[in-house]
């Protein structure tokens, strides 16, 4: 009876052995290994980043490990992944932090193991990092604040300087969305006729954006434009706006230039979005890793071009 249960258990771990056998051939090589840890791999943005990084790694003869937690909000699981990759003794760690402050202890651990850390897309909180004695070799990413300014300037022009604006914020405390918001507010600040009448977080999620937008439309019937800190929320918002029969009256601007958003702009359901270039971020990140491995200097800030899509 017990013997049988042992056999069953062997089954479970034969699975692990099989998986490891599959991977052994790829990890056993003497190629230098670079790790790219992104926020999650169920978002097209990071899948594009992975593609750009992989293409660069292949051409440079670098072995690239790409890992991510299941959920974008899971800071702790991302920390575990980073800790595990430090144990894996990767040569360089390319990191898109889920929490700009929370990831700091893991960065310090990588520093202690002499693994250079490169922040991609999202910054690591400079004050928290300095306080903990950590360093980042480089930051590669869009200037999100500039993107927010672009979105704001576009709306100021489109509405000829006067309008009631609603804003869908991202996950509170997340650096990228906060930067977009800062830039957007700066641009509106230059146009006294532009007034933000509602600003609420919808956590970068489509269904939350739908509900929040419905509520904002109820409370402020005069809204003439909406800015969402990402396209996913903008797409939720245009549905809510269409359901309220106000599609013609409200200009919606998103951020990220996802395929769905580009399609909505082509169909004139949405006004504009800000295009980032995750593929380029991935490419530059791997090239930076390559330079670091060869002991070459890298720039501490490497901006990746952004553009307005309308």
């Amino acid at each position: 009876m017990r013997a049988l249960s042992l056999i069953q258990r062997f089954g479970a771990f034969a699975l692990v052995l099989a998986i490891s056998a599959c991977n052994r051939s790829t990890t056993a090589g003497a190629k230098p290994t670079v790790a790219l840890v992104v926020k999650t791999l169920n978002n097209q943005f990071f899948i594009d980043m992975e593609a750009g990084a992989k293409a660069a790694a292949d051409s440079l003869g670098i072995e690239l490990l790409v890992q991510a937690p299941e959920r974008e909000i899971d800071v702790e699981r991302q920390m575990q992944i980073v800790e595990n990759l430090i144990q894996r003794k990767v040569s360089v760690l390319l990191l898109v932090p889920n929490g700009s402050r929370e990831i700091v202890p893991a960065v310090v651990k990588a520093n202690a193991a002499r693994i250079p850390v490169v922040a991609v897309d999202t910054r690591i909180d400079a004050a928290a990092l300095t306080a903990a004695g950590g360093v980042v070799a480089s930051f590669i990413g869009s200037d999100n604040e500039d993107g927010g300014r672009m979105a704001g300037a576009f709306l100021v022009e489109r509405l000829a300087g006067t309008g009631k604006i609603a804003v869908l914020e991202g996950v509170p405390g997340h650096e990228t969305a906060d930067a977009r918001l800062r830039g957007f507010r700066t641009a509106l600040g230059r146009a006294p006729g532009m007034q933000i009448v509602a600003s609420q977080p919808a956590n970068m999620e489509r269904d939350q954006a739908f509900n929040v937008t419905q509520n904002m439309l109820q409370a402020n019937p005069g809204i003439t434009a909406l800015f969402a800190c990402n396209d996913v929320m903008a797409l939720g918002a245009i549905e809510a706006i269409a359901a309220a029969g106000k599609a013609k009256a409200i200009s919606v601007v998103g951020f990220d230039a996802q395929d769905d958003a580009r399609k909505a702009i082509a169909e004139q359901r949405m006004s504009a979005t800000i295009a980032q270039n995750p593929r380029e971020m991935g490419r530059i990140a791997v090239i930076t890793a390559h330079r670091l491995m060869q002991g070459q200097a890298v720039a501490s800030e490497q901006p990746v071009a952004i553009s307005l899509v309308k």
């Binding site: 479970a12 771990f13 052995l17 998986i19 490891s20 990890t27 791999l41 800071v75 595990n84």
Partner: protein
């Protein structure tokens, strides 16, 4: 009586089986990658298992009584936010942490009252609490994470005593205590009895309502303790922390051989279950397995563990009483 001894022996046999599973997994990884069997990595894995390990202690007690607690992930967030908000208001560290733990205990007690006095199924009561506690955490924190905790709290995550990381020591101490409570004290035996046959336990004069409420309070407390570890580890309390932890905790309990129907299982099995999950995740990271395949592998291990559990139970039922 004979049936009971058989059951106990089965539970013990199952623990041995789970332990063997862990050993086999470690051997497989030791062969597959040179990075696994280093002292540093093993300490790393043990430390990583502490978060789910601690929360799974309370879950084991709940599941032993035949219940379930889906609210623990949200309670982790609520406790953490209570600690953070208290510290922001200038309340001393020890009192803030106590308040955080009390928040967990209070929510857990409320779960227990809804289940015993309100006669709600545990699944429903704790599902409701899952949402209530998450909302409360978001309200208290205004949706924003709270950062920068005192060094004293950070020590819980970063401290090393006699070469062992502090979170691991804390986890092991809690497991030792719970093992003693479950196997050597009257309340512990009540939990098994309630899970085995609630009616018979009530008829024998035991205050089932009280002890069932207590078990959810214990679960709330273990969520609070988990939250202290998490806050110390991230130097941040987050209203969105702990999402999905209830499922990780249930998985650790189930892999550890505790029956979801209650009455059989052990907290030592849960510890091994939590370690299996951490070792598996660590190993898959070390091997550079794709994140998608990792989810498949972890799910497969949970399913196989439950299959074994069910196969064993059928044999127990068939064996003569």
């Amino acid at each position: 009586m004979i049936a009971r001894t058989t059951l106990r022996r089965m539970a013990r046999g199952r623990e041995a089986g789970t332990l063997l599973g862990l050993v086999l997994l470690c051997v497989a990884l030791w062969i597959a990658t040179p990075f696994f069997a280093t002292t540093e990595n093993l300490a790393n894995v043990a430390e990583q298992s502490a978060i789910v390990g601690v929360i799974a202690i309370g879950m084991t007690c709940v599941i032993l009584t035949g219940g379930i607690d889906l609210s623990v992930g949200s309670l982790v967030a609520l406790s953490g936010i209570v600690i953070g908000v208290s510290l922001q208001r200038g309340i001393p560290l020890v009192i803030s942490v106590t308040l955080g733990l009390l928040a967990g205990v209070a929510a857990g007690t409320l779960n227990g009252i809804m289940i015993t006095l309100g006669k709600l199924p545990p699944f429903i009561a704790t599902l409701g609490m899952m949402s209530v506690a998450r909302g409360a955490a978001l309200m208290l924190s205004d949706g924003r994470p709270i950062s920068d905790f005192p060094a004293g709290l950070r020590m819980i995550a970063t401290g090393v005593i006699a070469g062992i990381p502090a979170p691991v020591l804390l986890m092991l101490a809690l497991y030792a205590f719970t093992w003693f409570m479950l196997t050597r004290t009257v309340p512990g035996r009540y939990f098994y009895a309630i899970g085995g046959n609630e009616e018979a336990t009530a008829l024998s004069g035991i205050d089932v309502r009280f002890w069932k409420t207590a078990v959810y309070a214990i679960s709330g407390l273990s969520a609070g303790l988990c939250s202290v570890l998490l806050v110390a580890r991230l130097n941040s309390a987050q209203p969105v922390a702990g999402i999905g932890y209830e499922l990780d905790a249930i998985a650790a309990v189930v892999i550890g051989g505790t029956s979801l129907l209650g009455g059989t299982g052990s907290v030592i099995g849960t510890l091994i279950g939590a370690l299996i999950m951490s070792v598996l995740r660590n190993g898959l990271n070390l091997l550079g397995v794709s994140s998608y395949l990792q989810q498949v592998a972890i799910g497969a291990v949970i399913i196989i563990a439950v299959l074994i559990d069910m196969a064993l139970r059928r044999r127990v039922q068939r064996s003569p009483r």
